[in-house]
């Protein structure tokens, strides 16, 4: 895992104390994602990585796994192209 992915894992692991979350593991399938965690997850990626999650980014596939979230962060962090 790269640095971004490690940070995401650390955050999610706070809610999954006894589970070693893997890079591509489906966090929704694990059944611990409440609406409050969903909001905290958005707040976490925004604060930690300095991005703004917009309504257009609200897609479960963007938040399904550590890799999916890190991909979203990478896309949102990339400089806009002309």
């Amino acid at each position: 895992m790269d640095e971004t992915q490690v940070k995401i894992k650390e955050f999610l692991s706070r809610f999954l104390k006894s589970h070693d979350l893997q890079l591509d593991e489906d966090i929704f399938a694990l059944g611990f994602v409440s609406s409050l965690l969903a909001m905290q997850l958005v707040a976490f990626v925004e604060k930690e990585f300095g991005i703004q999650v917009e309504d257009a980014d609200l897609d479960l596939d963007n938040f399904r796994s550590i890799r999916a979230i890190s991909d979203l962060v990478a896309r949102k962090s990339a400089p806009a192209t002309a």
């Binding site: 955050f11 706070r14 809610f15 104390k17 409440s34 609406s35 409050l36 969903a38 909001m39 905290q40 997850l41 958005v42 707040a43 976490f44 925004e46 604060k47 309504d55 257009a56 609200l58 897609d59 479960l60």
Partner: protein
């Protein structure tokens, strides 16, 4: 850690306090009896930028920070919880639009909400859906003309006078949020009477019968209406209600200070009786503790810290239960006078109870709070 108000925040609190003492406190009992606040006070809130005050400058708002906003909410609630509830629901909708609205929705609605030109309300609860918000039965269907809503909303605070509703409905079984303007065809608004807490908050029932709204009025994405759009509104509402409960606690304390100094029994003021002092001591400490929780939640919200969610929930839980205890004790201290509408403490007790029910009941907080990982700070 240094948790104290800035000079600007203290000045703002003084301004709010003066406004409430002059424009709200003298009228609150009458509004409670008449089950409506005055148009004049709404105009005064507008004139002072007290409505939609978290909307950022880009959309015409004053962009109050969360601490200052909390101080405003506390002071308004010290005067009248019904007026506080107008701020709460209006700002919940503004917050949700600012957070999850499309650029067009932000541009269309936020300037009017920031000026209070349009009042907003949250249409979430239904006859069969309260705490179980995912169980709403209102439906939305897609048609060529737009979204078509059918269903029934209940307990919509300030629904009687709101011009814009944030509505949760099911679209093909997925909770989805919509912005519905009052004049939308197929929407009927009826006053809901007979409530005994925040009696002047002008509740309404909404009926959607083939109510057609433009496709552009979907807010957030399909299926994210509850988990993100309404959740953002409720989180903001929870923060507002927490501060509102602190305001009720402070109002109880103010009323009891006055009463126990003036009222004499057994030849001495009530304040000389040790058991009365015990009640006052609990009230003083609990109000202060609730305010500190609110300040911490506000500070975290300003930092956009994800921990703010649980701290806001903790603040709301503590402050609302504290307000009920404080108001209950305030009535006890006032004795028979506390049961009379000649004194405001009965209103405080009725209004305090509401704070334990709205934006996540006490029991919902009790279920949710242990799920969080509270870190030391």
């Amino acid at each position: 850690m240094k948790l104290e108000l800035t000079v600007v925040q203290r000045a703002a609190r003084d301004e709010f306090r003066d406004f409430v003492s002059a424009e709200i406190l003298p009228h609150a009992d009458r509004w409670d009896r008449e089950a409506a606040i005055s148009r004049k006070v709404i105009d005064a809130l507008r004139a002072r930028d007290y409505l939609g005050s978290n909307v950022v400058g880009k959309y015409g708002g004053v962009g109050r920070d969360m601490i200052t906003y909390g101080l405003l909410t506390e002071e308004i609630a010290r005067g009248c919880s019904s007026v506080r509830s107008l701020l709460t629901v209006h700002d919940m909708v503004a917050h949700a639009i600012q957070r999850w609205g499309s650029p067009e929705q932000r541009q269309n609605y936020l300037p009017a909400l920031a000026r209070g030109k349009v009042l907003a309300a949250l249409a979430l609860s239904e006859p069969n859906a309260g705490s179980d918000a995912a169980g709403v039965e209102t439906t939305a269907a897609d048609s060529n003309e737009g979204w078509v809503l059918n269903g029934h909303k209940k307990w919509t605070t300030f629904g009687q006078i709101a011009g814009l509703f944030l509505v949760l409905a099911q679209f093909e079984g997925q909770p989805t949020a919509f912005l519905v303007e009052r004049e939308s065809p197929g929407l009927t608004v009826r006053p809901l009477t007979g409530v005994w807490g925040t009696r002047a908050s002008q509740l309404a029932e909404l009926t959607f019968e083939g109510c057609c709204i433009p496709h552009g009025n979907l807010i957030g994405r399909i299926g994210f209406g509850l988990s993100h759009v309404i959740a953002a509104a409720l989180e903001h509402g929870r923060y507002s209600v927490a501060w509102g409960a602190v305001g009720i606690g402070q109002a109880c304390l103010d009323a009891c200070r006055r009463y126990t100094a003036e009222r004499r029994q057994f030849g001495v003021p009530l304040s000389d009786h040790q058991l009365i002092r015990r009640l006052l001591a609990d009230m003083i400490v609990n109000v202060r503790a609730a305010r500190l929780l609110c300040l911490r939640a506000g500070w975290l919200r300003d930092q956009r810290d994800p921990v703010a969610f649980m701290e806001t929930m903790a603040a709301k839980y503590f402050a609302s239960t504290m307000a009920v205890r404080a108001a209950n004790d305030a009535v006890q201290i006032h004795g028979a006078n506390g049961m009379s509408d000649e004194y405001p403490v009965g209103r405080y007790l009725r209004d305090a109870k509401v704070t334990e029910i709205i934006e996540g009941s006490t029991q919902i907080q009790q279920i949710a709070l242990p799920m969080f990982d509270f870190e030391e700070f």
